[in-house]
């Protein structure tokens, strides 16, 4: 297991190198200019050129790439043009909102998705199956922003039960933090629950047709015991994989949710950085997201071994 882990961690390095290089070229080759955005609509062309020179943006792209690699090797992600702070600081400031939103949304997604999948699989073809899978279909089809805006209109504007948007830290005001997090977590979690429900259902259906389940039923065990004790754990491996992928997607930035609910997380950071061509921030966020993605995948692979004792990596 340990040598497998070390091998996987080393494999991370070339992946990261490819990711940062591709991102560097994409962001530098698309048209647009951070200085023209920053200096505002009335800036003269001469002013823009002077500031570009001051920031080193007039240098050839290979020179900028070399400097970028040198910085990365020193562990320095650079300094945001727009935010006047190191990229690592900007990332660190946005980590908490994104992690909190991810965990809440993941909780909602799993709480809706897994039971829905199990119940639908336990009673295939029933009315429950149809209702729950229709719910899952809606979760996939309804655009996140539409659901979010309607939640805001209903629960904040009309009913006044919850705040429309914003963020408070759990470390400073847990009650406010919870109230701010309910709507984004539910709207995001509902969207993400769809895939989990579908996968849970199909995995459960597959397991419920196995011989050992027939044996369990033949022994006279109740439906509840058969489903929850005998089938559920064996159906979990693909479900865990999907939960892992969902988590990685959420960490990478629940962009629309963060923008609509005004949560100062990584998703919102990368969108604004792309729009204003804040190259160091885009590169930094992508680097961290890619690393997180790969690490979560690794973690999921590790979890397989705990769930299913037949899986061994040595």
């Amino acid at each position: 297991m340990t040598s497998y882990l070390v091998r996987r961690l080393f494999a991370l390095l070339p992946v990261m190198a490819v990711v940062v290089t591709i991102v560097f070229f994409i962001i530098h080759l698309i048209p647009g200019d951070p200085v023209s955005v920053m200096l505002g609509p009335d800036a003269t062309i001469a002013q823009i050129d002077e500031t570009r020179r001051a920031l080193g943006l007039d240098r050839p792209i290979h020179e900028q790439l070399a400097k970028f690699y040198a910085r990365i090797l020193r562990g320095d992600l650079g300094r945001s043009y727009f935010l006047d702070r190191p990229v690592t600081t900007a990332l660190w400031e946005r980590a908490e909102p994104t992690i909190v939103l991810t965990l809440f949304a993941l909780f909602v997604a799993v709480a809706i998705g897994v039971p829905s999948g199990i119940v639908a699989a336990a009673y295939p073809g029933s009315m429950w199956d149809r209702i729950l899978m229709l719910g899952a279909l809606l979760g996939v089809c309804i655009p996140g922003f539409w659901l979010s805006l309607n939640f805001i209109y209903l629960f904040a504007v009309r009913l006044g039960w919850l705040p429309a948007a914003g963020y408070a830290s759990f470390f400073t005001d847990p009650v406010a933090a919870f109230r701010y997090m309910v709507l984004p977590a539910v709207s995001l979690g509902f969207n993400q629950s769809a895939l989990i429900a579908r996968i849970s259902r199909s995995c459960m259906l597959e397991v419920l047709q196995q011989d050992y389940i027939r044996t369990a039923r033949a022994k006279g065990l109740s439906q509840r015991t058969v489903v929850y004790v005998h089938a559920f754990r064996n159906a979990l491996v693909p479900v865990v994989a999907v939960i892992g992928i969902t988590m990685a997607i959420l960490i990478g930035g629940a962009v629309v949710t963060e923008i609509v609910f005004n949560i100062p997380g990584l998703g919102r950071l990368i969108i604004s950085a792309i729009l204003r061509r804040d190259y160091p921030v885009v590169q930094g966020v992508v680097l961290v997201t890619a690393a997180t993605y790969v690490l979560i995948n690794l973690l999921v692979d590790m979890v397989y071994a705990f769930i299913d004792p037949r899986i061994r990596y040595d």
Partner: protein
């Protein structure tokens, strides 16, 4: 939670003194305290007033810093940190400016002429207005602790206005800061003399500005951007809310007290809101298609005139304003009606002619053979995209081949600097407080209006100090503008904001909002 506190003694005494002096702002009683939450659309690129022309920076920095002069209700210069209007020598070449005494910076230091000289020197090297003014300046020096002197090469009409404009303005910083940060580098120590001081800047979360207790207001009544500035609220909290629908929802729920940059389609909903009301900002933009006069098809004046003759502006403005008459105005003055000194009413200008025959004839005279005209726009500003789309339709009706290129704003503002990349682009022109500040008459701004006659008139206007003669020159310039058609002027678009019904004392006439002299009930 909003705090309600009693007035500290110095502020209470000051308010009482102002009331005794007749500086009563209106019949309502002002209340002190509370946090005013303002939702705006994003982060400022800097809180350095000298560094950028971005409007969000203008709005924010005008609460922290002040300049020597500012604008009154009629958008004319009035003193701010200057004690009074300057003394001008008989030859018009020396301006002596007395400074207010006992003015403190947020770090406790007293402002002196050294700070003014250092700040304006920095401003002169970076700001659009500073650079413009300092082409005429030979020397700026401190005469004594509270007097500065500005010497000019030639007579100038733009000294006061350029020192008073609120955008990219001549904010006075402490000398140590003005000299520490080179002009091309953003200031990251934010110390001014304004009624609010910066308490915290957490990007994407909030910018907190708190009342500066040592602020010494002027004795005059509030007047436009100037006069007495009293910080009634304890704190202004600027919250970036990028999604416009969320800003509307938050003002309705009372999570915001003021929301900026809203779309007209929320107007009816806000009128029905029990908590908020819509605010129409008349000093906003006139819509414009800027034509590339340096290179390509649009260097042909006849082709530009054909565009100008073809368009039917009212239907375009209706679309842009979401069908609401309250949000646009059909006017052709290059400076909006709210700036009375420079608003023109000239009959017979070739504007909004929607004369297809004339346009087709001009196309023929131009020798136009249906070559694609690259017209850049963006969907990031819906009004830009809408007016470009309807214009395309109208121009294609007369036989122009419009290649509408929809790009993001960052791409548009980059590409518009390169004459090889476009023939026209959309933008909005904000109010110029003096004709010499109008970017569409600049040879250094995208579109390159380097027409000799235009530049001659502009140069004359910047030197002519007699108002009547300046007006005559301005009318000449306006006629020349519609003859040469360097850009296509559409109608005036108004902006929409929203204010909580608890927010009182707001001056709705200024181009950008200010939150001194406002209070929360």
């Amino acid at each position: 939670m909003r705090e309600r506190k009693s007035l500290p003694l110095p502020v209470a005494a000051l308010v009482a003194a102002l009331l005794l002096l007749g500086v009563g702002f209106d019949a309502e009683a002002q209340k002190k305290g509370g946090i005013l939450r303002v939702g705006n659309l994003g982060e400022p690129p800097a809180l350095d007033a000298h560094w950028t022309t971005a409007s969000i920076t203008e709005t924010l920095t005008n609460h922290i810093y002040e300049g020597l002069f500012t604008l009154d209700d009629g958008n004319r210069p009035i003193p701010m940190l200057a004690e009074s209007m300057p003394t001008v020598s008989p030859d018009g070449l020396t301006y002596t400016i007395k400074l207010r005494q006992g003015i403190k910076f947020h770090n406790g230091k007293e402002m002196s002429s050294d700070d003014v000289v250092a700040s304006l020197n920095r401003w002169s090297k970076q700001s659009v207005y500073g650079k413009d003014l300092f082409t005429q300046v030979t020397e700026l020096r401190a005469v004594d602790k509270s007097t500065v002197e500005l010497k000019l090469k030639e007579k100038s009409a733009i000294v006061l206005i350029n020192l008073a404009v609120p955008n990219n303005f001549g904010a006075i910083y402490p000398k140590e800061i003005a000299e520490k940060f080179p002009p091309q580098e953003k200031v990251t120590e934010w110390i001014g003399t304004g009624p609010f001081k910066l308490a915290e800047w957490k990007p994407d979360q909030h910018i907190r500005m708190v009342r500066f207790d040592d602020y010494k207001p002027r004795s005059e009544k509030p007047n436009g951007y100037g006069g007495a500035k009293i910080a009634y609220v304890d704190e202004v909290r600027w919250i970036p809310v990028p999604d416009v629908a969320t800003r509307v929802a938050q003002i309705e729920t009372g999570e915001l007290d003021f929301a900026d940059d809203l779309n007209p389609d929320a107007y009816d909903r806000l009128q029905r809101s029990p908590n908020a009301r819509p605010v129409i900002a008349k000093l906003y933009y006139w819509l414009v298609a800027v034509l590339n006069k340096k290179e390509g098809l649009m260097t042909n004046q006849k082709l530009r005139q054909a565009w100008q003759a073809a368009i039917d502006i009212e239907p375009i403005m209706k679309v842009v304003a979401g069908g609401k008459r309250e949000f646009y105005r059909m006017d052709n003055s290059l400076i909006p009606a709210e700036i009375t000194a420079w608003h023109t009413k000239i009959a017979g200008l070739p504007w909004n002619e929607h004369n297809k025959d004339k346009a087709k004839k001009l196309l023929q005279e131009a020798g136009y053979k249906g070559e694609p005209i690259r017209f850049m726009t963006t969907q990031e500003y819906k009004w830009m995209y809408d007016f470009a789309l309807v214009s395309k339709q109208q121009l294609e009706d007369i036989g122009m081949n419009i290649d509408l290129q929809v790009v993001d704003w960052a791409t548009l503002v980059k590409r518009r600097n390169n004459s090889k990349e476009y023939d026209a682009f959309t933008t909005g022109i904000g109010p110029a407080y003096d004709p010499t500040n109008l970017v569409v008459l600049s040879c250094a701004w995208p579109g390159w209006n380097c027409d000799e006659e235009t530049q001659r008139l502009k140069s004359e206007m910047s030197k002519e100090t007699d108002y009547k003669k300046r007006v005559a020159l301005w009318e000449q310039q306006t006629k020349l503008f519609f003859e040469k058609a360097p850009v296509i002027r559409y109608g005036d678009l108004f902006g929409m904001r929203a204010a909580s019904k608890k927010l009182k004392g707001l001056n709705e006439k200024t181009e950008r909002p200010r939150f001194y002299n406002v209070w929360l009930e």
